[in-house]
Symmetry: C2
DNA sequence: ATTGATACAAACCAACCAGTCTGTTTTATC
DNA sequence: GATAAAACAGACTGGTTGGTTTGTATCAAT
């Protein structure tokens, strides 16, 4: 019959689970529903994963992590002006990301808010991912200093932490109303904040 | 036997449910567990509430709403300098709120992120609450203008929206690690942003 | 070709969970 | 004090859920 492809089976489970977790949360995701949508059976699931939590961890590391990196890390890898790059990212975010992202917000932060206090396995993985993000942004601001786009006395680490937190907050609040004023407000005020990091803002 | 007190019974259900929702989310909250912790039975529950969702709405409006108002609206009702008041609030937040708030973050935003895309009943109630908050902060900034603490050209509405979003983001990210650096970073950078709203920041 | 491991299908299970139903006690009203 | 409504207690139900078990077809190695 149809030739087997374990890797593809596993990947299909991961992708379906990712979509379900994004839409309903980890607790709201149903294993049966993932199976139904994947066209698979229990045997396939528990062959590739030990438990629902195991699947959740895999989704986090193999789906969410790459997506966060592609949206928030990779685009900033080779830029000189952090302020400009961040504002560009905000302006293009709507078109660059899949519809599910606009609909349900950041999958990393969603999972963080839901699960970090309920499951230590999730918490440590999420915390690690956030740390990478913080370090990447901090490095970006440090490079911005060298290139003369950022004031030398700026605390790159603190700025990085705040920018990430503010971004997640903006995405999260926007999700509730989907109101353009909310997004424009965040974009404009983030621009105000970021401009304070420039050398010649006096 | 013990004299009946319907209002108190209802209140006990609400308080227990609030704690459970705050800790496990609405979906994670179990009616049976709320009953057990309240020392009540199914009869009591479905006499006071029509369904689990009905209880969730009541918790939102009768527990979460007053708490948000007491923490984020009332303290700013009679102040002149929004920047100072907001930074004071941040500095005293740790001591002013119950331990469960430090542990699990803002119950309004938690519920917003979990349920706003899953249940329209929750979404509209949460959106309404956020709007009140936005309007209150916007009014605060307007008053700040009149008193000379805020630049006249500031977009109060936009600032209000961004400050709330940033606050929720900071609280949410902090929840994952409980790291003091994260909180200090948000506090210091929020101060940087807020100082741009002052008249004499050039 | 045989064999053992891999990759599933599919029936099955026990616990769980929101909600119902029946009955009983308390309370308010007259 | 009779009566009806309100405020519960507690057993029960039917569907759901994560997980198990058994069986079977495919695949890789010899």
């Amino acid at each position: 019959m149809a030739t087997r492809n374990p890797q593809q089976t596993r990947e299909r489970l991961l992708q379906t689970a990712f979509a379900q977790m994004h839409a309903h949360g980890f607790q709201g995701m149903r294993v049966d529903e993932v199976l139904k949508l994947s066209g698979l059976q229990k045997g396939a699931f528990y062959h590739h994963f030990n438990s629902k939590a195991d699947l959740g961890y895999a989704v986090l590391e193999e789906q969410i992590k790459p997506m966060v990196e592609s949206v928030w890390l990779a685009p900033f890898a080779n830029i000189d002006d952090p302020v400009q790059a961040l504002l560009d990212r905000l302006d293009n975010l709507g078109e660059d990301i899949p519809p599910a992202m606009r609909e349900h917000g950041c999958p990393l932060n969603n999972l963080a808010q839901e699960m970090s206090k309920l499951d230590e396995g999730f918490r440590v993985r999420i915390a690690t991912l956030f740390r990478h993000w913080v370090e990447a942004f901090a490095a970006m601001f440090e490079k911005g200093k060298q290139k003369g786009f950022i004031r030398p006395d700026v605390d790159s680490q603190a700025v990085s932490r705040f920018v990430i937190a503010a971004l997640e907050g903006c995405i999260g609040v926007y999700k509730v109303e989907q109101a353009v004023e909310q997004w424009f407000a965040c974009r404009s005020q983030l621009a105000v904040y970021l401009s304070t990091l420039r050398p010649n803002n006096g």
